[in-house]
Symmetry: C2
Subunit: 588 residues, 2 copies
């Protein structure tokens, strides 16, 4: 269970050990084994093959020029490779973060392309600062408020929004800007008659080919006896192949001029220029909510992938260091003409199964992307937009997660409700507000659940020392004692419910003289609940009954003693076990 | 413990019984005992004596003409008397609700007095609709989210805001409108040089006299041998006496003209005219948040007083019917030229101790106020504003609640924090936002607490079947088993913490082969936690250890079985008790 990273430092100096907490690469660089190199090179190459077309496609999804997606795939990847604790995470532009960028920057930029770019850089800056800050303050646990059902509902809805946003490009139609998902659907249907048939045909053919690369191709190649590494490269090069085919087709047949097929056009050559995000306070304030969402959602996606992959090889990732590494990658993006990045699911899985053994794989990917922007940008001129749309659509279809909905629905309707609320809120209110609504709904459902705690009247099982719910078990009870197990901590939201239920139980049965509260599941009693207990004690005694406690936990008892409640109750009114209490109340 | 109201219906018909659920007066009217009459008359009279000056003062605090406070003390009181279940609650204008009205209506009215009045009526309408609706839907429990510390912090801060708002009137200075509490304090200090000495003298004298009525007067009168009822009337007539003295002084010495003492001026005579609140959707939308706050805060104040007084006489109040009664009183205010009302603390206590036995006391008070507006309004002409300010200041000083702060601080720092946050937020951000911040803070602190659950490694106490925390008790443990009691339900906010703590415990001790999770305090496991458990099971088994459960509660077990987790874990891996589990894991 110890992490190999820590094992490896056993021989190292103490200061190096301390430093390597923040730069795990110091360990793998010193101890790099030649045997790991082929895996790293192979993984770096395959991820680069996927990332070139995906990076451009996601940048366009984010409303940015295509080269920005490539720029965001160079320096950030090197930084993550040096600082990250996951050996397989592939950082870079991803679909959902791109959508979040578009929805945050779009309304503020007002059609000004230079401003748009600067706002995207500023988002990367802010997200980076937030993530590094949270990592240093060890606040990684905050992402836990994004519950699994909320994240699933959010991802599915975002995938639908993203997928649908590409339909117009696939059809080759132009739409006026729309306000919200449903309006954009309506507009698309309204303009569907303007579809450009050649554009649509290229798009649909690309989709079909991409699905073939994902599915049948691997089987066919293996049947032909191709070695496994080549099969992997081949199956993962679907986006590259459709991009190349589409480009050739448009260039050779001059489909841009003759059939109106939209193309990427000029992509500047050369390494990413240094860039400066905005530091204006009003810009930072306006982007802060979106930056928070991007840092949390991005981190959540990244850490879940990293954890899942690490556990397959019995490795561990450090949640706080991952925040620092991702934040640093975002800061790198902010100053090298990129936009917010994170660890994506599909490329990381490919990186892992292609054999990535260390951060070197990331660095190799970055090197290949750098070569691409230096040498290959002229070849992107005729790349049709409809092909990029096809790449995005195929990538996000897999994110629509019906499995979790079915699973959660069977397990627990409250969790299913928070999933569906998030899903509906993202579609109707937008991605940024939607996820907030989801988090609020999951918290509200949790509070609702704890505000009406389960209470069980219990009785003795046979002659044993065990006491169980009278409604679920055949147990012995005693007419003048009602023993109630309260299955929840007592706090402000459930204290009135508790009081009325307990007093009701006593009021219904005039023969009851003792109310025994079994507190084994009461983990704390807050000030509001303490006040209710004091009031209840008075009311019970006024009514000729008495209050007794059993199984009070140590920390809870300490507080009740310190505040003087036990003095009011009577020190002989508290029992270690229900068994002892029931013996004392003469119900043997 | 049964309510006398229900006992009294034993002879009545079924339909009457059903009807009397919503109109408890049907019972006390039919069964009214002559012996109850003197108490009701006496209480009705004393409350009226207090209410005439207080009603006018609170209306002015709310930014309304003084007669509105009297109008709000007629029909609403009759309605509450007929529908309420408390026998002692005195409904009418109160300080905090008046402040909430001023802070909600002020910014919307923009200095237009007629609009101001209509908006206040609309607030009463909305609050009434919300309260009646919540009562009918039995949503009274929602007020529980106003925890005791939040309410205490809110009340103290509101009392300070209210008290300070009267200082300018006490000094006789005029201030430009200010933005927030601290600015109004600054402005007051800036203009303190313009103080009108005669106004201040009358105000300070009134304050001194009011404190004497509250304190020394009762003792002196009892020493003189005055009968108790007369002493009660005398001590509670402080506001009336200072109002009368102030009025006489100003009228006789012409202090309004000669010393610039501000006076109430013309108060129209006659019963309240019928009134119509606004039903315009945009007005309703704008006032909705404030109406929600007023209905919840007003109800909370009202129900706490009603409960406290009822329990002193072994009576009970019905929380949902109280909402309906208060809501109906507010609806009555909305259509009879009033403004939002609620059951106030001080007048209700007076009503109770003066002997109110039924809703008749309220109806008598209303009758006396009606006579006042019919006959006595000309006498209010020379009533000095500084006297009304003095009445308010003395009334709210008692609301500043340091006792709860001290008590809660000793008991629990988290509760103390939510009290102080609410207090600070009300002073800095205003009453309406402040209380929301307080509620949010108390929820956040609760989530924070449950997100880092207490976990105890337990061992066997002697040879018993009991297991206790190894850090608090001298217990036996077994090297290859770690038995952990988790003192919290497992849900999204604590699942990552749980996983890292538990896996950490196993990782630290390589000899551990069994992790036993004692779930006696786990009241539910949500979908996120289920997923974590599944991942943990896999990780533990990968590491050569195994997971076992004990004391799983019935409802939790049902779900784990249904979703197939127990199949993965192994049905023999779940034990009824820790004792059985430890025996099976060979640690006898």
């Amino acid at each position: 269970m110890t992490t190999p990273a820590i094992q490896a430092t056993n021989g190292g100096s103490r200061s190096l050990q301390a430093l390597s907490r923040y730069a795990p690469s110091l360990i793998w660089l010193r101890h790099y084994r030649r045997a790991d190199l082929p895996g790293d090179v192979m993984a770096g190459l395959i991820v680069a093959i996927m990332l070139v077309p995906q990076g451009m496609a996601y940048a366009i999804l984010a409303g940015l020029p295509p080269q920005v997606g490539l720029y965001a795939s160079i320096l950030p990847l090197i930084v993550y490779g040096l600082l990250g604790t996951s050996r397989a995470l592939a950082v870079g532009p991803v679909a959902i973060v791109s959508l979040l960028v578009a929805s945050a920057v779009g309304p503020l930029a007002g059609g000004d392309a230079a401003l748009y770019l600067q706002l995207a850089l500023t988002l990367a800056l802010l997200s980076g600062v937030i993530q590094v800050g949270m990592g240093l303050l060890r606040l990684g646990f905050l992402v836990n408020f994004l519950s699994h059902p909320v994240l699933s509902g959010f991802t599915s809805a975002a995938a639908i929004v993203i997928g649908f946003s590409q339909v117009k490009t696939l059809l080759g139609i132009r739409l006026p800007s729309s306000d919200g998902f449903f309006q954009s659907v309506a507009l698309t249907f309204e303009h569907v008659g303007e579809t450009q048939p050649v554009t649509l045909a290229i798009g649909l053919f690309s989709i079909a080919l991409l699905f073939y690369f994902r599915g049948g191709l691997g089987k066919h190649l293996r049947r032909l006896g191709l070695p496994a590494p080549l099969v992997t490269i081949a199956t993962k090069s679907g986006p590259l192949v459709v991009a190349a085919l589409g480009t050739l087709l448009v260039a050779l047949l001059d489909l841009n001029e003759r059939a109106g097929v939209g193309i990427v056009g000029d992509v500047p050559a050369g390494l990413p220029p240094l860039s400066l995000p905005s530091f204006a306070p009003d810009v930072l304030t306006a982007l802060l909510p979106a930056a928070l969402t991007i840092s949390l959602v991005g981190y959540m996606e990244s850490i879940s992938v990293a954890k899942a992959l690490a556990s397959k090889r019995r490795q561990k990732v450090d949640a706080d260091q991952e925040l620092i590494a991702l934040g640093a990658a975002n800061l790198a993006a902010a100053f090298s003409s990129g936009y917010p990045v994170t660890g994506g699911f599909s490329r990381s899985s490919v990186n892992f199964s292609a054999g990535a053994n260390s951060g070197l794989a990331s660095i190799i990917t970055a090197g290949l992307i750098a070569l691409t922007v230096l040498l290959l940008t002229p070849t992107f001129y005729y790349l049709p937009n409809t092909v990029l749309a096809a790449i995005i659509i195929v990538a996000v279809i897999g994110l629509i997660d019906l499995h979790t909905l079915r699973h959660v629905w069977r397990y627990n309707k409250a969790d299913a409700a928070s999933l569906l609320v998030t899903f509906a809120a993202v579609l109707t209110l937008g991605v940024d507000v939607g996820i907030l609504v989801g988090v609020a709904a999951s918290i509200a459902l949790y509070l609702w659940r704890t505000s009406r705690p389960h209470m069980a009247v219990v009785g003795r099982v046979g002659d044993s020392e065990h006491f169980r719910n009278v409604q679920r078990h055949d147990v012995q009870t005693c007419p003048h004692v009602v023993a109630v197990r309260v299955d929840e901590s007592l706090y402000f939201a459930n204290t009135a419910y508790l009081e009325s239920r307990l007093l009701g139980m006593v009021a219904e049965r005039p023969e009851v003289r003792h109310l025994l509260l079994i507190c084994g599941a009461v983990n704390f009693i807050d000030a509001s609940a303490l006040e209710t207990l004091e009031a209840m004690l008075q009311e019970l005694r006024d009514a000729g009954a008495d209050l007794w406690l059993a199984e009070v936990k140590g920390p809870v008892m300490d507080r009740l003693l310190a505040i003087g409640f036990i003095d009011k109750l009577g020190h002989d009114h508290v029992f270690l076990s229900t068994h002892q209490a029931m013996n004392a109340l003469v119900c043997v």
